[in-house]
Amino acid sequence: MNHRTALAALTAFAGMTLAGAAFAADPVCGAATGEAATGEPIIVGGIYGNAAPGDWTSSTDAAAAYFKCVNANGGIHGRPIDYRVENDQWNPENAAQAAAKLVSDTDSVAMVGNGSFIEMAVNAGTYKDEGIMVMASACAISECFESSNIVSTNQGPLPSNLGAAMYAREELGATNIACIGLNIPNNGIWSCQAVIDYMEANGGTGSMALLNPGAPDVNSALLEAVSSGADTILINQPAGLALAILKAAEEQDLRDAFNWIAPTPLYDLSVPDQLGEYWYGHVYVNAELAPLQVNGPDAQNWVAVMEAYGNADDPRDTFGQAGYLSARFFVDAMLGMDPADVGDRAKVADAIRGIKGMTSDLMCGPYYVGDADFHMPNHAGYMVKIVEGGFEIVRECYEYDSAYFEPMLAIEKELGLN
């Protein structure tokens, strides 16, 4: 990118940020009455994971901000939402305890905004047994998408990886992708294997290099990927580890030897500055939700909610958008219920399962839940490129091409959504 283009991108981004800030004075939430809710609180839970090697708080932070906004604007039929969150600390025992506290010991009506690498695997059975629905936002493991009582607004690593791989194959000429994932069977291995399958189904090939999340040796994983004979490296990692891998690649001056692609965790506004000039224009990232430039009404409202009700240090990233969306869809479903039923877990679960065709400019397709043993309403996204000061959209909303999505597409057809 030349200086003029960079300046234009920077100006556009600054303009959009200012536009968001200007809108921040007037967020629209829930019933939008402008009056604080004063009735009996409705308890809603949320579980996030914050411990090495990743901080997954942005989805519950955004959901909390939206619920605060809703409570200041009439709540749910006059009743405020009492949003309670717990940290699973990337530990299965803590994850089970968090669900026991929020679901089994509390009259919570739903879980919203969950973001974790662990808790869905441990608690999927608990959610089913307790009859509670989870509207998650930062799902990273297969159980999150292959369970009856969990639905997420984010895509998770499998679709996002496929989206990045599809773009790399079609636009960058990738024929051999090395996927650097976490050595977790239902996360890194699951999502990297999907990329290998996709490449092999399209005449290419692929491999995976796995990192131990407890003691990640990024140099070893990078060297394994480099030695695989790949022409493209897919960094399937949380943002912190992805940055460490790119820094290691920069030290070895590997930029021009490969195409560099990543799923959505790298779509974080702080990433371009942290990476620096060396990588500008060379890293392609799949965005599961609309990039900031799209700047539709809901995107602006998300920014406004975060400005008015969030903390200054709450991340403004894809998972923040997903947390906001889950909370918004949940509130919309609750507002559509009989006021006498909004404190009843079973009826709230039915209302959530009944969600069909909700839309937002943050998502490429409609949001729905339905009554199934798997849920993945979000399987289309954007592709962006890291540039100075932000991200440049290189491909608008596109559906990912994989046999994995056939059951979801069948359900959407049944619901009349495609």
Binding site: Q97, S104, P185, N186, W190, N212
Partner: protein, 332 residues
């Protein structure tokens, strides 16, 4: 001999009363959060009992107990997904396989004592940590490692303990059996051999005690208890994560066994309380659970400086003092 074996000491009576309380009362009163915490605590009581027993009876420092729990948990998960055996059969096999692993780890360490033995066991724990992190825990896949891509298969809990309340009772029953197992050994000929070895290995050898054999026996018992503890932990969660079984956790477990008091059943309970209940309590209060490490450090200093028999030793001394005062002196 039978009379000696079945004799109930005041400490033993208190232990049995506590077990009865934990079996009957706690499951009836605790909410689901605390049931989950107590189940985990019970599993670690069993593991700590093993490491504390080796330290108290033989002066052997094993820093691989949590790693051995991981072995037990691994076998439990593998059998659960691969075979249709009842939970109890899987648990016994997991405990026995872990015992054999304990023996294998112990063989090269048998000629070492003190710091060197501790270092060898710590290195074994490090090795197990790497194996768990590399190969992960079975989740229903094929092959030796039993790991498949994607979601884990469902875990079958024992038919006697389908609910959290029943599972806590189940764990309490196994923990009680574990303590009785140790106590029975202590009261029979292995206990006498261990007492002699602890006093002087040379004297024990001179008296005809096969030192290596009895040390191996002790390692085997610690392995059985660790394996059962890991199997029970796997049963409570349905899956396991390598982060639970890091070598540093074995060091922490041993340190807490010393803080709690390695010679007493109460010491293992106190150690497990510090290890699992205290962080859960801090979490529940919204306080950073890492504060527990500061408290662990203070507890260790306390134990090293003022309480060589740990907190349990101090409590037992206090109880003995009270008994002497009120028992001999009549009414207070």
């Amino acid at each position: 001999m039978l009379k000696r074996l079945l004799h109930v000491t005041p400490s033993g009576a208190a232990g049995l009363a506590f077990a009865a309380f934990a079996f009957l009362v706690i499951p009836a009163l605790a909410g689901k959060l605390w049931l989950s915490v107590f189940i985990s605590t019970g599993c670690f009581v069993l593991a700590i009992a093993g490491v504390a027993f080796m330290y108290a009876r033989l002066g052997m420092v094993s820093l691989t107990q949590v790693g051995l729990m991981g072995v037990g948990g691994w076998v439990m998960l593998r059998l659960n997904h691969a075979a249709g055996f009842p939970f109890e059969v899987n648990l016994v096999i997991a405990a026995l396989v872990t015992m054999v692993c304990g023996w294998i780890l112990a063989l090269p360490a048998m000629r070492m004592r003190g710091l060197y033995l501790a270092l060898v066991t710590l290195m074994a724990a490090g090795g197990l940590e790497i194996i768990f992190a590399t190969y992960q825990f079975p989740n229903g896949g094929e092959g030796f490692w039993g790991v498949k891509t994607g979601s884990a298969d469902a875990f079958r809990r024992p038919w006697l303990a389908q609910t959290p309340e029943a599972y806590l009772r189940y764990v309490v029953a196994f923990v009680t059996l574990g303590f009785l197992f140790i106590e029975a050994h202590r009261r029979l000929w292995p206990g006498r051999a261990w007492a002699l070895i602890r006093r002087s290995e040379a004297a024990a050898m001179a008296a005809g005690v096969n030192v290596t054999f009895y040390k191996m026996w002790a390692f085997g018992i610690a392995g059985v208890l660790a394996g059962a503890a890991g199997g029970l932990l796997a049963g409570s969660l349905g899956l396991l994560d390598d982060a639970t079984f890091r070598a540093s956790e074995s060091v922490m477990l041993f340190a807490l066994a010393v803080v709690g008091g390695a010679r007493y059943w109460l010491g293992a309970v106190i150690a497990a309380t510090l290890y699992r209940i205290l962080p859960a309590l801090l979490n529940n209060w919204g306080v950073d659970a890492d504060l527990a490490f500061v408290i662990f450090g203070a507890g260790l200093l306390h134990a090293v400086i003022t309480a060589p028999n740990g907190i349990a030793g101090q409590i037992m001394d206090l109880a003995a003092g009270l008994r002497a005062r009120f028992g001999k002196g009549g009414k207070p």
